[in-house]
């Protein structure tokens, strides 16, 4: 019986902790990651997840020709570095932030409209401790507020 109570309490605490992390994730996306988008305008879409080392996420989005975009991928401090790659429809790598010291942002423009994949992975560490680092990763997209007509490439 004692064991049952212990397990029940432990699981309750774990779950409540997880809910709390989700709420923190929203604040992290808003208060930390949104700032990385400046001077681009956030597109208003909330994308964030609580991840641990080794976890992967993919984000699919259409990017339009003639527009300038910024991708901001932010990992919480407690997580190892976060790698992100931008892939085309055939999964060719167009950008890899690993080649740029795991930069949080990438600015680009499109010559033709395309649907791209942003592949995000939390790196693993050599740390052998039992505590697996867990934290929020926010992935936000901004576009440049330009209202003049499209430049011709």
């Amino acid at each position: 019986m004692k064991r049952i109570i212990f397990i029940a309490l432990f699981l309750s605490l774990m779950t409540i902790s997880s809910i709390s992390i989700n709420a923190q994730c929203k604040n992290f996306a808003r208060k930390i990651c949104m700032l990385e988008l400046v001077p681009y305008v956030h597109d208003g879409m909330y994308n964030a997840a609580v991840l641990q080392e080794g976890d992967a996420v993919e984000l699919f989005k259409t990017f339009y020709s003639g527009q300038e975009y910024r991708i901001a991928i932010c990992g919480a401090d407690e997580l190892p570095k976060v790698q992100f790659q931008v892939l085309d429809k055939d999964r060719n790598v167009l950008y890899d932030n690993k080649n740029n010291d795991y930069a949080r942002v990438w600015d680009f423009s499109m010559q033709s409209s395309q649907q791209l994949v942003i592949s995000i992975q939390v790196q693993t560490t050599d740390d052998l401790s039992d505590n697996i680092p867990t934290g929020c990763v926010a992935f936000l997209i901004g576009f440049m507020n330009k209202e003049d007509s499209f430049d011709q490439f």
């Binding site: 309490l9 779950t15 597109d43 879409m45 996420v57 950008y95 499109m110 499209f150």
Partner: protein, 307 residues
């Protein structure tokens, strides 16, 4: 130790409740994974969807109304208020489906009015959006404080765009966190269909609208994403199933438009560090019959939502 049965019951209940809550919150990720195998879109999207199978978690970032409005404006569209859904219709919308779709429509109208410096109209549409958001139960997506900020920054377009973006983020995150992702999806469908409606109506009335028509054709890509998103809920929700059927009708028309793109080559400017993803695109001339069918299908669906 003597076990107090009541304490044990309470602890067990809390555990069960928190677990149930946790499981339902996670459902959206499972749903997304499930959608990976079910998406039926253009050839380009098929390739993408195959690649989804390898992912652990998949997110779709759909076009926001403000981005769509900006694309329409940059393509040379002129402002025409008669194309917007009158705010006086707001109290008529009952039920989650109608309210969610029309909230999306008002969001698009709000974005469109704001980008064309229609300040009083923007306030009217923000207020109508607030009414629907409140009725759907999206807490504080558009708070009184946001309304005040909008009114006090009414002549600063950049601030208004930021405020609109913030309200999207508020409603989007609230619905996702509260396991109401299907409502969020319907709001996005409403915003997307209104953007397409405005663009097609303006293109129809304009002699030289090549740029705008290009933007309309581009929407085939976002339509594929929307269909994929809705598929995961269509079996469980009649509301979503009916929206899904309407989008399939649009897909049939978009599939008649031939577009091919070359392989993308990233080229980075050494000074600005900005990368251009270069790729050429070939579009067959748009058949007027196809364009007419597209305009009609979009208008019929949109007018059915707002009536």
């Amino acid at each position: 130790m003597k076990i107090n049965f009541k304490v044990l019951t309470v602890v067990a209940s809390i555990t069960m409740a928190t677990f149930l809550f946790s499981c339902s919150s996670d459902k959206k990720d499972d749903g997304n994974k499930g959608a990976n195998n079910e998406i039926d879109t253009t050839e380009q999207n098929d390739d993408l969807m195959n690649s989804m199978n390898q992912a652990k978690q998949v997110f779709y970032s759909l076009p926001s109304p403000i981005e769509t409005a900006m694309l329409i404006k940059r393509a040379g569209a002129k402002y025409d208020e008669s194309l917007l859904n009158p705010t006086t219709n707001a109290p008529n919308y009952m039920g989650n489906k109608s309210m969610a779709l029309n909230l999306g429509i008002y969001s698009a109208d709000l974005s469109f009015a704001s980008l064309f410096d229609q300040t009083q109209t923007s306030i009217k549409y923000m207020s109508a959006s607030k009414t629907l958001a409140d009725n759907i139960g999206i807490l504080n997506a558009i708070s009184p404080e946001i309304m005040e900020r909008l009114e006090s920054n009414i002549n600063q377009k950049d601030s208004i765009i930021d405020i609109i973006s913030e309200t999207f983020m508020n409603s989007n995150s609230f619905l996702k966190e509260n396991d109401r992702a299907e409502i969020a999806a319907m709001i996005l469908v409403g915003g997307w269909i209104e953007g397409l409606y405005i663009a097609t109506q303006i293109a129809k009335m304009t002699d030289s609208a090549e740029e705008l028509i290009d933007r309309i054709i581009d929407q085939r890509l976002s339509l594929g994403t929307l269909i994929g998103l809705l598929e995961q809920y269509s079996e469980d929700s009649k509301d979503i199933a009916s929206v899904y059927e309407e989008l399939l009708k649009l897909k049939e028309i978009f599939d008649k438009i031939e577009v091919t793109t070359s392989k993308i080559e990233p080229v980075t400017d050494p000074v600005t560090k900005v990368t251009t993803l270069k790729a050429t695109e070939e579009k067959a001339p748009l058949d007027p019959v196809v364009f007419k069918a597209l305009c009609k299908t979009v208008a019929d669906y949109r007018n059915g939502i707002v009536k």
